[in-house]
């Protein structure tokens, strides 16, 4: 059993698949042959290294969003989205979806074409809009116009509020702490602008008549400055 034999059988030997007698013969050879022992050690090391070869983790959110992106990029679904988004749509603003996030255990009613949040008089509730962006968008402007009788906590009696913001690839959450002061509600309009492009999203805020004031059960999302 010589050096050539080991070279031919190296893989099978390392895999432990050689018949007993042949393996014993090679073991014998290895005891006396430095070159072959060296070769065996190198092969074992190679296998070890290959086995440990790392796989990079996917980007944050990638796996969670992948199927949704697959559906959003399908043309018929894109048409549905465009209809749902409403307003004038300029091509190219890379917002792939805008959605109303669910609140705790409560389900929001999705009417046939507009997302609806049902609140009661004097209620305060944090509603979250999620803007799904395919890419980073710097220096966008966000304009939120509130329905009559509804204000945003911390913004006094203002009916529209404007922000400058940047969006990251993936989900970008806009928490809006709505306060129902009076009235029967109406449409909340969120308009995201970047350069000369914009997307608009409407949420119907329906105010149910209810004599008992209730407080929203969802804690406000803490705000942090994005990197």
């Amino acid at each position: 059993m010589g050096c050539n034999r080991l070279k031919d059988c190296l893989d099978t030997y390392v895999d432990g698949e050689l018949p007993e007698r042949e393996r014993a013969g090679l073991d014998e050879h290895l005891r006396g042959c430095a070159a072959c022992s060296e070769l065996l050690a190198r092969e074992r090391r190679l296998r070890q290294m290959l086995n440990a070869l790392p796989v990079s983790e996917p980007s944050p959110g990638f796996m969670q969003e992948i199927t949704m992106r697959a559906s959003a990029q399908t043309s018929s679904r894109r048409r549905q989205w465009m209809a749902a988004l409403g307003g004038a749509l300029a091509a190219g603003l890379a917002i792939t979806w805008v959605a109303l996030a669910p609140l705790g255990g409560e389900r929001e009613e999705a009417a046939s074409s507009v997302a609806t949040v049902t609140m009661t008089l004097h209620e305060t509730r944090t509603v979250r809009l999620v803007f799904g962006s395919a890419e980073e968008i710097r220096d966008a402007r966000l304009l939120v116009t509130l329905p009559p009788g509804v204000t945003l906590a911390g913004h006094g009696a203002r009916q529209s509020i404007r922000w400058r913001t940047s969006l990251r690839p993936g989900n970008n959450v806009l928490p809006l702490e709505l306060v129902v002061n009076e009235g029967t509600g109406g449409d909340l309009v969120a308009r995201l602008e970047h350069g000369d492009k914009h997307r608009t999203f409407r949420v119907r805020v329906a105010v149910a008549p209810d004599a008992t004031p209730r407080r929203g059960s969802v804690p406000a999302i803490e705000r942090s400055t994005p990197a």
Binding site: D11, A52, W81, A84, P102, V130, L142
Partner: protein
């Protein structure tokens, strides 16, 4: 509060998971069914995409392309008996097609400093003793050389050795994904290992 940036990325898994009722206004049964069918396969498919392309961005693009193209046919997916190898084959074929189209010869991040992600599990497997900083650096360098050596292999040999020795695919599984006959897979595997040993010894 009003003028500062208030939009930030939501923690993943929060707002917009399918089935949450989060996506207004369209009730999304199709998305839900699709997600249910493919989600158990996603991690394995991502790893396959990573082994084929050598880097994260390309792996994500490849996987996304495949899923997007499959979404239209999501109803078919439920009738496929062995979804895992079937999806693997679809992904592999798309990889081959795009590599051919783009004449992509290089694997991974060749040409740039290779970033090797050293984690404890890897160190445990590769370091004989408690790894000090010298050992870490040495292993990192060794892994870097291996990646360069893999880069120098032809794509057919690289795919086989990675799927078998890095991912633990059997010969039959490699045959199912690549369409290459088992005998050819075996000989490519032996040749790939021999070539890697040559490259690493030099």
């Amino acid at each position: 509060m009003a003028s500062s940036d208030i939009l930030r990325a939501a923690p993943s898994g929060e707002a917009v998971a399918p089935g949450n009722g989060a996506i207004a206004p369209v009730a999304d049964g199709a998305l839900s069914a699709f997600d249910q069918a493919v989600r158990p396969q996603l991690e394995r498919l991502y790893r396959l995409a990573f082994r084929l392309t050598g880097q994260r961005a390309d792996a994500e693009d490849l996987l996304q392309d495949v899923l997007t193209s499959l979404f239209e046919r999501h109803a078919e997916l439920t009738s496929i008996k062995d979804l895992a190898p079937w999806l693997g084959r679809v992904l592999y074929n798309r990889f081959v097609d795009s590599a051919r189209r783009l004449r992509k010869q290089r694997w991974g991040d060749s040409g740039r400093e290779r970033v090797v992600l050293l984690d404890d599990a890897m160190l445990d497997r590769l370091a004989a003793d408690e790894p000090g900083p010298e050992t870490r650096a040495a292993i990192q360098a060794e892994m870097s050389r291996l990646q360069s050596a893999l880069d120098a292999l032809g794509v057919e040999h690289r795919v086989v050795v990675l799927l078998h020795d890095a991912e633990g695919y059997s010969i039959e599984e490699i045959q199912a994904v690549t369409g290459v006959a088992a005998g050819t897979v075996k000989s490519r595997l032996h040749r790939a290992r021999a070539r890697l040993r040559e490259l690493l010894a030099g």
